[in-house]
Amino acid sequence: MSTNTTTMDFFAKNDKISNIWLILTLLISLFGVYGVFNVLINGHDVYGVTRTVPWGILISTYVFFVVSSTGLCLISSMGHVFGIEKYEVIGKRAVILAILTLLCGFGVIAMELGHPFRMAIYNIISPNFESAIWWMGTLYGVYLVFIIIEFYFLMKHNHKGAFYAGLGGFIAGISAHSNLGAVFGLLEARPFWHGPYLPIYFILSALISGTALIIIIFNISYGRPSNLPEKAKNALTGLSKLFGLFLGIIIFFDIWKIITSVYGAPPEKYESVMALLTGQLSFNFWFFEVMLGMLIPFFIILFTKGRNLTASLIAAISAVIGIFYMRYDLVIAGQLFPMREPAPGAHVQSALQNGMVTYSPSFSEISIVIGALGFCVFLYLLAEKYLNLSE
Amino acid sequence: MFLLKTKLNRRKFLAYSGGTLAAGAMATKFSTIKAIASEHGKQSKEPGTKTVPSACAICVNKCSLFADVKDGVIHKLNPNHNFFKSRSMLCARGNVGAKVPYAPDRLKKPLIRTGKRGEGKWKEVSWDEAYDYIVENVIKLIDKYDNRSSIAFASTEGLQEEFFRHLTSVVGSTNSVRHPTLCLASNIQGYSSVYGTLPDADIANAKFVVMAGSNRAEAFITPDTIDLAKNRKEQTFVYLDPRATKSAALADKWFPIKPGTDMAVVLAMINVIISEGLYDKEFVDKYTHGFDQLREHVKKNTPEWAEKESEIPADEIRWMARKFAENAPASVWYPGRRSSFTANDVYYRRSCAILNAIVGAWDRKGGLIPKSGISLKSHEFIFPLYDRVKNRIDGGKVNFAADVLPEYIKSNKGMPKDEVAFLSEADGSWVLFRDAILKQKPYPVKGMFIYKQNPVESVPNRAKTLEMLKSMEFICTIDIQMSDTAWYSDVVLPESTYLERWDPAHSLSGVAPVVIFRQPVIEPLFDTKSMKDITVDLTEKFLQKDAFWVDAWEEDKAYMEDYVKTFKGVPMSHIIEHQLSDYPGAYKMLKEKGCFYKTDKIPYGKTLKEGARLKTKTGKIELASVRYPEAGLYALPVYQKPSQPPEGKYRFVVGRHAQFTQANTQNVPYLLEAYGHYENMLWIHPKSALKQGLNDGDYAIVKSSAGEQKVKVHVTEYTRPDTVFYLHGFGRLSKWLTNVYKVGASDAEILEDYAETISGNALLHETFVEIKKA
C-alpha cells in the first residue's frame, strides 16, 4: 500500500491524443444540445416514441451505454479483483470508461424520463421494491459509487482498496445489469422479452461490449497496435480470444432465441422476431446485428486466432457498431406487436397495414444519441490525454 | 290556396300561436324579474360546484341534462335520468356540448362585412350598429321592391326559432323556408295521408322490426336506436340498406337492397299478407278505408316481381311478410326520419304505413303509435298583415315545378307538374324556393335572414345556393359559429349558445310526451344575445322608423309596441311558468327534475276507442286515400321503377353519422377524433374501386352535373358495388370552421337538386356520379 503517491501519478499528458480529435468530438457532442433544448422547450412531443412504442432509441442507447459500462467493469475485474495478472494492465482505462459510459447512459435516460429529478426524490421516499426499474436505478447508483472509488484506488495504486471496491462494483454491476435485463424480462405483456433469457443474455453481451471496447481504447491510447507495449499486447491477445469465445456463445444464444421464437409461431414472439428477420428491422438485424455485430468479428478472431491485433481492432469496432444496433433492435422489436389489434376505432398509434406498429426515431432523439456518443468519446479522450491511465 | 285576404276583410290580424304571453300579465311581475336576472348573473361567478338542469340543443332530440358547473366553468354535461325519452343518455355530441361555449371558433361579437362577399373581411360592431344596418337595409329593400316578401327567412328547428318566426311576421314576409323539405317532409306527408299523422314506433315493445334506409344506430341516437340495441337479443331486426352501416351491426338480417326499390318490397309483403290471409281482418274492417281496392292493387306485386326490382330474394320477402303478420301487432316497418330519398318517396311512405295498418299494428303495443303532446299554454300573438306583401314565392301554381323532378318520373301521372300538391305554408320547399328566387319568378326576393340553418351546406347543389346568395342585396345570419352561410352574409349576429340562455318550455311529442326547457348554465361569455332578444330589439328599432310602417295601420304599431313590452326585460322563467300554468307543480318539477311529464307509460289505443277519429278525410286509416285523387294523385301507392346509374357511374347516397348528424359539429375536434378521421371518405366497393383504378387511401374526383369534389377513397365491402357514399358536412367554405375548411368533400356540392312535387321534399339519392382518380 503506497500512501505517498504524487500528483504526477494522477495526471500525465498523453501526446498521442491530438486536440483535433478533442475538438471534433466536442463538436459532435454539441450536436446533441439541439435535441436537449428542443425537448426542454417543446416537451416530449419532439420524440418519435408513441403510445404503442413508449421506449425508443434513447432507452436503447441508455442500454448500450450501461451494458458497455458493466462489460468494462466485469472484464477489468479479471485483473485487480480476480488477480489474473495479465489483465491488470487494463484496469484504469476500463474503469474510467466504465464510469464515463455509465454517466453518459444516465444522461441519455434523464432526457428520456419525463421527470428525472422526481425520480431522485421518489425513488428514495416512495420506493417500490417490486419494480425492476427501481432496483436497476438503485443498483446502478451503487455501482457508480463503487467504480468511482475503484478508479480512485487504482489511480492511487491502492490495490487492496481497488480490490474491495472492484469486488463491490463487480457484484453491483452484475446485479444492476441483470436487473436491467429483468426490466424487460419481467414483462409478461411482452412475450418477446418475457422470461429469464434477457438477464442472462445481458450479462453475456456486456462481456462482449467490454472486451471490444477495451481493445479499442488501448489502440486509441497508443495510436496503433504496433505501438502497444508488450504487456498490453499480451492482455489484448488474451482478450481477443475471449472476445471470440463470447461471440461464439452469443451466436449460439441468438440462434436458439430465434428458433424458439419461430418454431410453432408462438403468438407475439413470432411476430416480433419476424420483424427482425424479414420485417421492418430486418436491415438492422442482418447487416448491423448479425454481420457487423457477430459474424464478421467472430470470423476475424477465428481466423487470426486473436493474434493479429489489427484484425482484432477491426473486429472490435465492427462489434461495437453492431452491438449498438443490437440494443436498438432488442428494445424496439419487443414493442412492435401492439397490445390491442389495430382495428378501426381502436386508435392504436403508429399501426401498420400488417397489424404491427412502428417506430422511427425523431431528429431530436437522434441528435441526443449522437451527442451523447460524441460526448462520451470526448470525455474519454480528455481522460486519456490528461490522466495517468498507464500503469 | 295561399291567397292573402284583401285589405278590407283581412281585419288586420294574423293570429300567430306560440309559447308567449300577454303583455298585461307580465307588468306586475317586473320587479321579481329583475331580481332573478341579477341572481343568475351572480351565480355563475360564484366559486364552488353547482348542478343546473337544462336541455341539449345540438340536435332535434333536445335531451334533458344536468350541467356540472365548477367555479363558473362548465365541467360536464350529464344525462338526466328523469328524462325517460333519452333513456338516460347523452350522445357524443351532447357530451361535447360542455365545450361549445368555449369553442375558439365561435362568434363573439356582431360582425359587418367589409370586403367582398365570402372574402372573410369583417369589422366587429356594437349591437346597435348592427341593428341600424339591418333596419336600414330591410326598409330599403321593402321600398325598392314595394314588397315585404322580397325578404326571405330561412331557419331550422329549435326552441328559439319561434322568435325568428316572430321576426318574419314583424317584417311581414310570407317567404319563410325551413328544414323539413330537406329532411322528412315526404315522410310526414306519406304517413299523414294514411293515419292523419306521422306516428312513432314502439320499438321498445316491438318483436319484429324492419328498417329500410333509416340508419338508426348511426344517423343519430334516438329512443328507437337505444331500444333496438337493448332488444338486440329478443327482437328480430331486419335491415335494408345499400350500405352495411352500424345499424347493420345490430341486425339479424341485412339486405343490401337496390336503392329506390324499397316500395317493391313493401308492396310484395302486402301482397303476401293479403293473399295468404294473414292480415288482421277485424282491424281492417273496423278501422280502415279502401281495403278491397288495395287487395286488387297489389295483386301484381308478387315477391318474385319484387325480387327482380330490389334484389332481395322472393323467399326472404315471403319470410318477412309472414313474420310481420305473425308478430303483429308488435311489428313495425320503421317510419324513419330523414326521407329525402327518391322521387316516389311519398307513395313509398304511404305503402309502409299501409303495411303496418293491414296487420293491425297501429296504436297497439309494439306497433306504430300516434304521437301525443302536452299542451302548453300559449298566447295567440297578433302580428300585422301589411299591404306590401305577396304570396309565397314557391306557393300555388309554379310553372317550372316539373323542372325539379328527375327525368324518369316526369311522365308519372301521380306526380304534380305545376305545383307542390301539399306544400307547407310555413316550411316551403327549399329546392323550389331557391329556383324561384334565382328565376325571380313571380317576383324578386333580394334579402335574406337566416337563423341557425346553413343552406350552403344543407341544400343540394351548393353552387346554386351560392348563386342565390350572390343575387341577394342583403343577408343577415344569426348563428353561434361562422357557418358557410354566415361566411357569405353581410351581417352576422352571434347568438348565445344554448348553455348561456333561457329557452321557453317545449313539449316533445312522442309515444309518451315530456316537456323540457333551457336555462343558462353559465353567463354568456361574450357579447351575444338570444334570438328572442334580437327579435325584440329589432322590433323596437323598426318601431322607431316611420318608413317601415307606411303600409301598416296605427293599431299595427300599437300591437308591436305591446309585443316589445311583452318580452323586453321579462325573464323567460316567468314565461315558462305561465306556459305550464295548467299543470300544478309542473314548473317546480321542471326546475328540479329538468323535465315535466304526466306519465312515462305509453297510452295505447286512444285512436281505436269508440268514436275516435283520425285526422284523415274519412276519419279512418285510409289505405286508399280520399284526398289524393282530389288533388290529381294516385289513391294507392303505385310503384315507380327508379332509374339506375348508367355504366361507369354510381349512385351517390348521403348518410349521417352519430358525431355529425347535421352540419354544425364537424368543426369540433373531439368529435373528429371520435369519428376516427379528420376528413370524410368515399365508400366504394372493391370491385368498383378496381374498375376505377382506385386503391384505399387514394384521392378521387367525384363528379356530378352539380359539381365535383376531391375525396379520399375508402375501399370497403360495406357497400353495394353500384352505390357510393361519403359523409355529410365536410369540405366547408367558411374559413372560420378551421378544422373542416376545405378538408374532405362536401355532399351539398355534388348533389343534384331534385325534389318531388307532392310534399316538396328534396331528393338526395337521385344523383349519379363519375369517379376518377385525382
Binding site: G114, Y122 | L90, W254, F255, P256, P669
Partner: protein, 206 residues
C-alpha cells in the same frame, strides 16, 4: 383556471379521495354486454369531458374498436368492442412502477399519482391492454380511474352513465346483491387476455 390546472386539480383530488377511502370495502367492476354497442362514442367523449383528457387522437382512456368477424359483400358481420383500463386485480402496471406512482386503491381502482410519476413509461410497456398514455396536462401517465371523483357521490362513471343502450354496468363485485354480481351469476362471461394473469375487473358477457 386553465384546462390544464383543472386536470391537475382533479388528479390531486382523486389521490386525496383515495386516501380518504382507505377502508373502502367495495371492489368496483364493470360488466359489459357489447352486443348492444352501436359505436356511438358517447362513452369516449364523455370520458374526455369528465376527466379533462386533452384533445388528441392518441390521448384517451377509453376506446371502441370494431370487431369484423366477416366482411365479404353481401355477407357482413360487424360488432363493436368498447373497452378501457381493465382495472386489473393483479395489475402489472402497478408492480413495475418504481415510485408507487401507479397504485391500487383500497376499492381496487388502479390510479396514477401524477406527482410521483417520473414518466419512465414502464407501466405503458407493462400494460397488456394499451390502456395508458402520457398526458400533457398532468405531465404524468394518465389512465381510466373509474371516474374516482364520482365515488363519493356514488354516481356511475361518465362512460357508464352516458351510454345510450347501457352497454356497461358499474358496481361492487363484492356485493352479491349488486347488479354486476347478478349479471355475472346469470351470464357466461369472459375477460380480455386472461392468459396474462392480470385478473381484469372488466367482464364481458358472452
Amino acid at each position: 383556471m386553465s384546462e390544464n390546472s383543472r386536470a391537475l386539480k382533479l388528479a390531486e383530488d382523486n389521490q386525496k379521495l383515495a386516501n380518504k377511502r382507505k377502508k373502502a370495502k367495495e371492489k368496483w367492476g364493470i360488466v359489459l354486454d357489447t352486443s348492444k354497442c352501436i359505436d356511438c362514442k358517447a362513452c369516449t367523449v364523455a370520458c374526455k369531458m369528465e376527466n379533462y383528457v386533452p384533445v388528441g387522437f392518441y390521448n384517451y382512456r377509453i376506446w371502441v374498436a370494431e370487431d369484423t368477424h366477416y366482411a365479404k359483400y353481401p355477407v357482413i358481420s360487424r360488432s363493436f368492442q368498447p373497452s378501457q383500463c381493465q382495472q386489473c386485480e393483479n395489475p402489472p402496471c402497478v408492480h413495475v412502477c418504481p415510485t408507487h406512482a401507479s397504485y391500487k386503491t383500497a376499492d381496487g381502482v388502479v390510479m396514477v399519482d401524477s406527482k410521483k410519476c417520473i414518466l419512465c413509461k414502464y407501466c405503458m410497456t407493462a400494460c397488456p391492454y394499451d390502456a395508458r398514455y402520457e398526458s400533457h396536462t398532468t405531465e404524468a401517465i394518465d389512465k381510466c380511474t373509474f371516474c374516482y371523483q364520482r365515488r363519493e357521490e356514488g354516481k356511475d362513471p361518465a362512460c357508464v352513465e352516458t351510454c345510450p343502450p347501457k352497454v356497461r354496468v358499474f358496481g361492487d363485485l363484492n356485493d352479491p346483491n349488486s347488479e354486476v354480481s347478478r349479471l355475472l351469476a346469470y351470464n357466461e362471461y369472459t375477460v380480455l387476455k386472461p392468459e396474462k394473469g392480470t385478473k381484469p375487473k372488466l367482464k364481458y358477457i358472452k
